[in-house]
């Protein structure tokens, strides 16, 4: 029975329906973009660390990052699978033992954790082992440490998930605080991300043409690796140094933590299941303002977005990460690409990165009608023009793209990747792109909204997929033109004119496609 349930959890998590794909496509694009940056950096930094004979430091820092990721992942997975999952209540109505459901969920989390751990070790320590040409024992030990790290992270994550659950329950009752905490978490994550990437970039940069580093950087790398005492034990295992200490600490510690976590999570899981039917929602009477119709519609749009965990996380993370991701991508490409291809590539990379992130961020427009669920009918019965209601939805969703886009542009100018004239040229170009892309997405969702009887908070998956794919094609065309044109045309104004031509052509096509339908939309 336990393995049948594990199979069911796996099926649920890897369902390949159109909606599932659409649901995950944006985070996947986002993740792939981040991973691409990381893998390229890892390859170059791996080479650099090997050249400097900093293998221990490289492995120690990599494993520290892995442990952090895995503990966070495990906390999220434990809360999602054990404490906040509705399927347990469904299973409990069937002739299945509570302990079997619990064990199946634990095994499912464990499998996911192990795949994540081993995959990460392959691209970091594995890649490094290939660059440094280590033997078979090194790679065999990778299997061993992947098991120890999985057990350790699962134990630590499982124990920490209980206090985190209490914090989440508290935040769910305090919406503003919830948004602040989400923003803070995203900010902390990206601060850490920037720090790591900057470290890699400085090593790549410093070793590009020489085989030595300045002493200050050497000390900084050694000091950083020295702080991560526990992660250092894994590089000891891999390199065969201090075997008694490394095995003697890591294996028992992982064993103790995972055993403790098993019993703590089991106690909490059983308790939550028995309390599940109790309704503990607290009510506080709030003074709700009566507004002008347009403002009321705008307020409702934002309330619905920011009260949905899925939507608010997407909105805030996109808004916060766009400037950082645009800057980091441009920086990495500028470091590794400028010398090979030439400085002219930087402008094109800026445009391409901005356009791609605009499409990802603006995808919220593609589910704005679907998000209303079955209540979308109100759009047609309210004494307020449907066209204006659609316009309000476009404005509400596009603002979330426009603000981080403008900030990204300012960051690129401030860091010298764009000139002032390039700033203005791309600002208006991409603002037009945001409006056209948003309009296309809203109209598409209005034409064929997708909602089920029971709102899940992530409706409109097919429409999001469609609008995102179309947008990405146009973004790539704009980006490639921006990369190629400076090499062909000496006059930048002609390049700008060509880019505006593409965006205006896109606007005309979108207008023609939607013209008839928009005219028929009720006033």
């Amino acid at each position: 029975m336990i393995f049948k349930l594990v199979g069911l959890h796996l099926k649920q998590s890897t369902g390949r329906s159109q909606k599932k794909i659409a649901e995950y496509i944006l985070p996947a694009i986002f993740l792939m973009a981040s991973l691409a940056v990381i893998v390229v950096s890892l390859y170059y930094s791996g080479k650099a660390f090997d050249k400097l004979r900093f293998g221990t430091e490289y492995i120690t820092i990599s494993i520290f990052i892995l442990q952090l990721i895995m503990i966070v992942y495990n906390i999220v997975a434990t809360i999602k699978q054990l404490y906040m999952s509705n399927d347990s209540l469904l299973f409990l109505k069937l002739p299945i033992k509570k302990i079997d459901i619990y064990l199946s969920k634990i095994i499912f989390i464990l499998l996911n954790q192990y795949i994540l751990c081993f995959g990460y070790l392959l691209v970091t320590a594995g890649m490094f082992g290939m660059i440094a040409e280590y033997g078979g024992v090194y790679f065999a030990k990778l299997f061993l440490i992947s098991i120890i790290i999985t057990a350790f992270s699962m134990g630590a994550g499982g124990i920490l998930s209980v206090p985190v659950l209490y914090i989440i329950s508290f935040l769910k009752r305090h919406n503003i605080l919830k948004l602040i905490v989400i923003a803070a978490c995203v900010a902390v994550f990206f601060t850490f991300y920037i720090k790591i990437m900057n470290g890699f970039i400085s090593v790549i940069d410093a070793t590009r043409d020489k085989n030595y580093l300045n002493p200050a950087l050497v000390n900084e790398i050694k000091d950083t690796a020295g702080i991560f005492v526990y992660s250092h034990l894994f590089s000891d295992i891999l390199f065969g140094t201090r075997p008694a200490l490394s095995y003697g600490i890591t294996i028992p510690l992982a064993g103790i933590l995972i055993t403790l976590s098993f019993f703590i999570a089991k106690y909490k899981y059983f308790k939550i299941q028995s309390e599940a039917l109790e309704n503990n929602i607290k009510s506080t009477k709030k003074d709700v303002p009566v507004l002008k119709p347009a403002l009321a519609l705008l307020r409702r749009e934002y309330l619905l977005i920011f009260r949905s965990d899925y939507e608010s996380l997407s909105f805030i993370s996109t808004a916060l990460t766009m400037p950082i991701m645009v800057y980091m991508t441009t920086k990495v490409v500028a470091v590794s690409g400028t010398a090979d291809i030439g400085g002219n590539i930087v402008f094109g990379i800026c445009v391409l990165t901005l356009a791609v992130f605009i499409v990802i961020s603006n995808s919220a427009c593609a589910s704005t009608v679907s998000r209303d669920g079955q209540a979308a009918y109100t759009m047609h019965i309210l004494p307020y023009s449907v066209k204006k209601q659609l316009l309000i939805k476009l404005v509400a969703n596009s603002v979330v793209t426009v603000i981080p886009f403008v900030i990204s542009e300012i960051v690129l100018v401030a860091t010298g990747y764009l000139t002032v004239s390039q700033f203005f040229a791309t600002l208006f170009l991409l603002l037009i792109f945001i409006v056209v892309e948003g309009f296309m997405a809203v109209m598409n969702d209005y034409k064929s909204p997708e909602y089920s009887e029971y709102s899940k908070g992530n409706e409109g998956g097919k429409n999001t997929l469609f609008s995102t794919l179309i947008g990405l094609v146009v973004a790539i065309i704009i980006g490639l033109l921006a990369i190629l044109l400076p090499f062909v045309l000496s006059n930048p104004e002609v390049s700008y004119a060509a880019l505006y031509g593409v965006v205006i052509l896109y606007a005309v096509i979108v207008a023609i496609v939607n013209r008839g339908f928009f005219r028929r939309v009720q006033r």
Binding site: V288, P289, V290, L303, G373, L382, S385, S455, Q522, R523
Partner: protein, 240 residues
């Protein structure tokens, strides 16, 4: 109050009319029932009448306003509660009602008075400030009603309003519907529960396969001392 004339609607891809040449009038202060089996065309008729769906032929006027030509004035004069009781689940009950009040230009003082009245009527004070997604079926229906009629429209249209409700909620909503009609407003509602329609309605239009099968003046018959057996009438008309 409501004038429906020769209303016809065919869905794309179908060769059958979902509503065929439907005509009726709802008078002031009247509770008017639209009765039919599942798939008879009641919901389609309501969607056309309220302007949610376009129709092919005919006309609809609410308080003298044509639903196509004078769309906004017509919409200002009715409230529609669909059969799925759909409301914005991310809002609280009070936020939903206030949102509807804002769009219908109801001032705050009037809105608060009406909310107090609704709370008393539906005994809903305990949950109005909770998120709608935590509500039961009946609670959602009551909040949908409160939000829908916060502007006290002349015409109130309800599609299967009592579907899936517990006896207490049914009683509360029926009582409120009667009081609302007694204030001079009109109610048009659909149902396939014959007993409810028979007790609640002044007149009933029976439809089948989108077509009118008969108009029964229940109130008139009762006033004339006639015994109205709606079951018998309904099945004789529908089975034909």
């Amino acid at each position: 109050m409501l004038q429906v004339s020769n209303l016809s609607k065919t869905y794309k891809g179908s060769d059958k009319k979902a509503v065929n040449n439907l005509s009726f009038e709802v008078k002031e202060g009247e509770i008017f029932g639209l009765l039919g089996l599942n798939g008879a065309g009641k919901s389609t008729a309501f969607k056309c009448i309220t302007g949610i769906q376009p129709f092919d032929e005919g006309s609809v006027s609410v308080c003298g306003y044509d639903i196509i030509k004078d769309e906004m004035q017509a919409k200002q004069n009715y409230a529609f509660i669909p059969d799925n009781h759909a409301v914005f689940e991310g809002l609280t009950g009070r936020e939903y009602i206030t949102f509807m009040a804002s769009v219908y230009n109801v001032d705050k003082e009037t809105m608060n008075k009406r909310i107090d009245r609704f709370v008393e009527m539906f005994n809903s004070g305990s949950y109005l400030d909770n998120p709608i997604r935590s509500y039961s079926h009946g609670m959602k229906q009551k909040v949908a009603i409160m939000g829908g009629i916060i502007h006290y429209p002349k015409l109130w249209i309800l599609d299967e309003p009592l579907l899936g409700l517990d006896p207490k909620s049914i009683k509360q909503i029926q009582t409120f519907m009667r009081e609302y009609a007694q204030m001079g407003n009109s109610i048009l509602f659909s149902s396939h529960i014959l007993d409810t329609v028979s007790k609640m309605c002044d007149r009933v239009l029976i439809i089948d396969h989108g077509e009118t099968k008969g108009l029964i003046d229940i109130k008139g018959k009762k006033e004339n001392g006639e015994n109205v057996n709606l079951d018998e009438i309904f099945f004789s008309l529908v089975e034909e």
